[in-house]
Symmetry: C2
Subunit: 468 residues, 2 copies
């Protein structure tokens, strides 16, 4: 009989394996999806999150983030990501913009990317403390273009429904001037004709130009299909060459209508679904950033469209039994935070109004989400500070202003923001001259430190419970 | 009992369905993969094929293409493609280059694309003729970057083997000057260290620059990983951030070596495999275009490398029981044509030497392919004519010259090409001053018609048997 010799190395390995199994069972990986329509500030948010956790994690800076306030965070650092086929989030590039002598906002997300932070901390809880004095949580951040989020609601629509909704949207007052060229081409388009690739291409290109112009000139978020705005490897593929058409009764198999319908379905099945299947069902937590001030600037049609877009997205997120995402992907998200970003473009006392407005935009859907066991919160934040609050005395009246460098201008401005509504208002209730909130450059970093508004609240809600 | 009323419409439908089922069983769809390493002329070939079939299909022009010589081709036209997620081949753009007043070669393929031609013809065969006087074959052309073809042999290698082969290649005389910068970085790289993303990125970028320079300055075809040359959506993903490293003995799980190995395997599994799985196993026929003259210009190292690359590709294509592709994808390719393209850069009497040289480069592998039931042929073609043959009398001696407009120059040149070898020659057998074959612009179209050399032979071999 051979004697069994247990070496120290074998023991260490055993211990190591046990620790590994435990890591898994203790849920030490958190996947956080940072989402939001284009322009909502996702890239800046992720950069700020990494910056604050890796080099500004002190209780003066993040007082509402428990693990920091309780002095338990030991260190945070970027580690190799697990998904090798996803580009790494360019933290260096994005933070360089924010930390520059003349700070600017980092460029918009054009594709999915990711970054993993290891957070090492002293544990609270008996179980973990007993096993090991410290614990490490791997926080995987996933960032993807807002345009892709806008596609999600398409999954629950057929071509006919999507066409009707889209054409209705395009005909609203605010968007009509941009839609005219496409709509007049559509007027002379005969959907019952035999397929003519050239005609389809011409109209699809006109529709694509329309989407690009709407993105450029308005704040309309729900621009579908989103990949028309960032075609990348799909440029020129038939799956991107479709457009909305009013339903026709009598179509034959080789008609233009049927071809468009086939392309629409292929887009859902071959472009939208794989992305959500591969990534969405893996998320634990989700942040949805919303730029409500820009929507207010854009007018009642855009506020209404943003509200609808948010509700559509939430409908798909309804994790209850009948939710589409549930049926398709079995997601495990248990917390969703809706954050009105760039809140310091208004004065501190107005920031709660923005949070209330966002809350009102979510409407009943919010309760339904909660009912199905998802924790939902709404708040107003600025992941990167862009103004300072400033009291101005105007003939004895105290005016709450903000002070910052207006986007596209060189001078610093003291500015009295208009009062934002704290609930959704209709076109009839809209102020006569509309809203005009200004946009600002990021504030200059102080000794290499970025400022923020309630980033710590957001972190506590999103991952605080995993760091105990 | 309800009487069964058979309407004319129902009968038509039945007939139609029978016809459809028959179409399938009669194999009326042909998928032709047009492959070849970068610069071998794939885009020009497809454009020429479409041009000749759609508007120059007469027996004077295509005498060796049976369906045309026998006056049986009724019409060919582009029809909607079946794969909606693949960009459509830009025939308009590519043919515009070839048909211009000052013709140029179309730009290189940067991504997969496709085009479907419907070929309507009078059938020969009793069976088909009996059912219908005419028949339609759908010819699907698939074009993809040569860089992707170069990746195929990676599938049968592990990281260690690939690293050794690649480093050996980089150290050959011809490529050493370009490799030096990367190799000296590699000298101070410690593969047993813990993963340092920054170090890996720096070396991967240096390796990428090396590949780009080799592509730019030499005719080396086997540049792996091919996606480093066309990163597209994968730019910045870890799966593209690897490079060859000499094997090390003692590596731990979190070592640089293991991370590189993991990325190499991920590249094979997540990038190369899906492409071949999705597309390759569907091909019926394959054309491999080869630019042997450029390899000869580049010297013995490149001719040798091209020979190895072709043999590697053929090894993977070995459709016999033990072939890798067979095991992975169950392909059904039954005919492969290797064509030395741009053959009219030498005189007509030298063209057969090029075909013989290519045949010799394929070596034994060719027989093995045949043995496993694949018809293989080799020929020298010019899908688009770029010179005219010209006899020059030099002091009573008849010189077989070519006459054309040399690439990058403005004037027309009469040129006596060097004699190409008709078999592989070694560095020792290489002529002292090497080879210097010139490259030419396409010849100007005559009354809108393109010229070609043996395009009809190629068509007859590749699809002639399906048009009977």
């Amino acid at each position: 009989m051979k004697a069994k010799i247990v070496t120290q190395k074998a023991l260490d390995k055993l211990k190591n394996n046990t620790q590994k199994a435990l890591n898994r069972s203790l849920d030490r990986h958190i996947k956080l999806a940072v989402t939001g329509f284009s322009g909502s500030g996702k890239t800046a948010f992720i950069s700020a999150l990494v910056k604050h956790l890796t080099s500004q994690a002190n209780k003066q800076n993040l007082p509402f983030f428990d693990v920091v306030r309780e002095d338990r965070l030991i260190a945070a650092k970027q580690v190799p990501q697990r998904a090798l086929d996803i580009p790494t989030f360019d933290y260096q590039g994005a933070s360089a913009c924010l930390l520059a002598e003349q700070p600017t906002w980092p460029a918009s997300t054009e594709r999915i990317n990711t970054l993993t932070l290891a957070l090492k901390f002293h544990t609270h809880s008996g179980l973990r403390a007993h096993l090991s004095p410290t614990s490490t949580v791997y926080l995987e951040l996933i960032d993807y273009p807002g345009e892709w989020l806008a596609d999600l609601p398409m999954l629950s629509q057929d071509y006919q429904t999507w066409s009707r909704n889209t054409l209705e949207l395009l005909q609203r007052d605010k968007y009509k001037p941009y839609s005219d060229a496409f709509l007049s081409l559509l007027d002379v388009f005969n959907a019952t004709d035999d397929v003519d690739e050239h005609v389809l291409k011409t109209l699809a290109q006109s529709y694509q130009q329309l989407l690009c112009r709407l993105k450029d000139k308005t704040k309309l978020a729900q621009l579908q299909p989103g990949r028309m705005l960032i075609p990348s490897d799909l440029a020129g593929a038939p799956v991107l060459l479709f457009f909305p058409v009013m339903p026709v009764d009598d179509t034959h198999e080789s008609s233009q209508y049927r071809q468009l319908e086939a392309r629409f379905e292929a887009y859902k099945q071959q472009v939208v679904m794989p992305f959500y299947k591969q990534h969405f069902c893996q998320f634990d937590r989700q942040l949805v950033l919303v730029d409500v001030l820009s929507a207010l600037n854009d007018g009642p049609d855009t506020l209404q469209a943003q509200r609808e877009a948010l509700q559509h997205v939430m409908q798909v997120f309804n994790y209850g039994k009948s939710g589409l995402l549930k049926r398709l992907f079995y997601p495990k998200i248990d917390k969703v935070l809706f954050a009105a970003n760039k809140c310091d473009h208004v004065s501190p006392s107005q920031q709660s109004d923005i949070a209330l407005l966002l809350n009102d935009m979510l409407g009943e859907q919010r309760n339904e989400l909660r009912f199905s066991g998802v924790a939902v919160d709404t708040m107003a934040i600025s992941s990167v500070q862009s103004t300072q609050a400033k009291q101005v005395n105007d003939n004895g009246q105290h005016l709450e202003c903000v002070y910052g460098k207006v986007l596209g201008e060189n001078d610093w401005t003291t500015y009295l923001p208009p009062q934002p509504p704290n609930h959704c208002i209709s076109a009839q209730q809209w102020p006569k001259y509309g809203f005009e909130f200004l946009s600002f450059y990021p504030q200059k970093a102080q000794q290499g430190n970025l400022g923020h508004v309630r980033l710590d609240h957001a972190l506590q809600f999103l991952i605080g419970d995993k760091l105990v």
